[in-house]
Amino acid sequence: MNLKSLSKTLIFTVLIAFCFSASAQNSGTVQDSENQPIDNVSVFIADQNILLKTNKLGEFFFESKLPNNTYLNFYKNGYVSKLVKYKEGSEFKVFLKKLHVALDEVGVVESYSELGNTKLTNIDKKSLENVFLRDNSMVESITQLSGVDIVSSGLGIQKVVVRGLSGMRVVTYLNGMQINNQQWANDHGIGFTDLGLGEVELIKGASALKYGSEAIGGLLFFKDSPFVSNKKMNGYVASKFDNSSYLSSSQFGLNWNKNNFFFNLYGQYSISSDYRLPNNDYLFNSRFNQNAIKFSVAHRYKNLQNIFRYQYHNENPGIPAHAHVDPADINIVDITSSSFDFNDAYKLLTPYQLVNNQLFNYNLNYLSNNLKLSLHLGHFINNLQEYEKWTRPAFDLTISNTQITPNIRYKIKDLTFNIGSQLSVLDNKNNEDERLVPDASTLNVGPYVILDYEKNNFGFNSGIRYDYKHLKSEDNILNINYDNEFSNTSFSSGIYYKFLDNVLRFTYSGSYRAPHFSELFSDGVHHGTNRYELGNENLDIEYADQFEFKYQWANEHFGFVLNPFLQNISDFISIVPTDTFISSYRVYNYKQYNNVEIKGVEMNLHYHPHQLHNLHIEQSYTFLQTKNKDDQYGLALVPANSIKTKLLFDLNDYERLVKYKFDYLSFYHVYKFSKENFAEYEELTESYNLINFQLGLKLNNKLLCTIGINNLLNKEYSPHTSRIRGVAGGVPNPGRSFNINLKYEF
């Protein structure tokens, strides 16, 4: 062989080697323990929010090279999910272990979380992909988690309660942006639906340092469904109907990508009339309608990723149980209707709210080996008008919030650092002279450092955050001239240890919450709550300390979680009734309690019987006790203790049933204990059982259907945390109802 031939051979070999290495870096395979390929495995590129699927050969491909240490989450029903850190150069092969049971995993599930390391921090997750098909609403779906409950008056207005705390103390994030939508009041809902959402992560208590210190009760982090890397456009259309309130709701979603450009589009329209009580009367004005549209655009270029999201949400809920007398003196006959007229059933009636939310989100991510730089810019605009008269609102508020969050994540061996800051500028403006809360603005700055250490079966994390808040209010109509600063430091620390199948975790967090301008300066009628609300300018910062322990054990059939906790909150701000009336409304004052204690225990059992692999049984227990140390009473709006049980029976093993398109059967049972520890002005709430039933059908590969019955026993009950528990002795929740839901995926 001469020199020329040798050179050609060498060049050819190098080229082949380059091509081979290039294709190895842009693809991978997923196999089981017998080296058989697994198809349809979801491959989630966590740092880029992109979802791939493996093909029939178990292969997956990504458009361009992944940076080193990119997290990829591999999961498929029937297999143990895996979180892998990508390493370039070598062949990318992932092995998934088949589960002993086909349904789902029992025990600690490895997955990526926006809120932190799921081993070191107590993070709960819930998929929201099928909420529209399987649940009444997104908020009701989340209440299936232990320690989580709901404040509501039907489907129109719903808020989340975490370990007895809600409102300002449960902070909500949507795609990295804090949602400020006048959440200080119980009649102001969450501000968005499940449209386009993929998952929610929840930290109970104050351990979510990266996202602010004010989340004393907890932090809910909602995330959109990921971008899908697929050769063709895909999407869905879905529709639902419920005969309790003649609810009709429709959604659509589209996902499209070309090379490194991704686009998601979603839309929703819902309309609902008054809901039917167990005695077949209808709760007058519990109706609502909602529209929403959202789109997201993402682009990857080498190590850079840009994501832009826009969301518009409009909702118009009626405010039921409204009267110009003390709510306790209202006769239920006066707030319910015995007849239903389709011509009038959906019309807006006073009092009602007009709510418009717009959310702009921009994310810039740069990934390189051990470093991730991210910058989040968000702008949220909420306009809330509350109408008691037809021709002018009782108040018309626009709140706009701009947030900038840079973050650096850096890994050195077993240590991960997160260093960042949050800058938030908020402006609250009245658009009418009549007002309940004043014009006000706040500036928040919160730098933080969080350290995670994880090696083998041991880990710890520790974080510190300093928050500075400047609150200013100049309002000539309410005669307010206020300028104050609040600052403090928050901590969070945790230890994790895994021994065989046992996992132990202990965390401590200390945080603070500055008073909100609604708590300081409210002065007016709030029709949504039937109150005259008076603020207190002398309120000071709340301080909270939480200790939490978590033990988990699992094998292939059985999983057990035990989670006791204790939280102390000093200078706890609350709103309490007085014996005074203004304009026919009872006056409620904001006041501060020296010390409040919240303690409890949550337990979860998860079981797949060996004799019946297609049966899934999940049970959660929540026991909560609150104590106001200033007096002998408990706190207001704290949920009763509960046991929640879910049975899911997969019917796909039975040929005859599959022939008739049956997919699964599910029963959901809630037992609520009587609530005997409550605030001074509340009443005892009796115990009750609630059963929901659902039949899932797979009409074909693309068309899914569910048929459900809610409140199967037509039980008449009014939850302790119902917004209208104190009205007419307790207005009941909906009676038995039927629903049918369809989803077509293409």
């Binding site: 659509f252 309608n289 529209n291 118009n316 007398v325 003390d326 209707s337 807006l348 002018r392 026919s584």
Partner: protein
């Protein structure tokens, strides 16, 4: 092309939903509300249906009663301006 046509149809449908607005009727039955010393509403005196500008006037400025009226609870209303006017609809209960 087929995908874009589908997308266009869906977007038009979406915007159709978005621009459909829920509006209330322009006319509503109104009443004067009477209160006791504790500020609790004790009686209502119907004053008829109001629409458009008249509705706005009666809600904002009040109702000018031109003759004496006796309410259901026996209270007498003298002629004059009454500002506690409510025009909300009530639940309809047959039994």
């Amino acid at each position: 092309m087929k995908n874009f046509s589908l997308l266009s149809v869906l977007m038009i449908a979406v915007f159709g939903f978005m621009t459909s607005c829920s509006s209330s009727d322009d006319c509503h039955e109104c009443h004067i509300a009477l209160f006791d010393a504790d500020g609790q509403e004790t009686a209502e005196v119907e004053i008829g249906e109001f629409c458009g500008d008249a509705l706005e006037d009666v809600e904002n400025a009040g109702y000018q009663l031109t003759e004496m009226l006796v309410a259901d609870n026996g209270d007498t209303l003298q002629p004059g301006l009454y500002t506690d006017v409510h025009c909300e609809e009530h639940a309809d209960h047959d039994h």
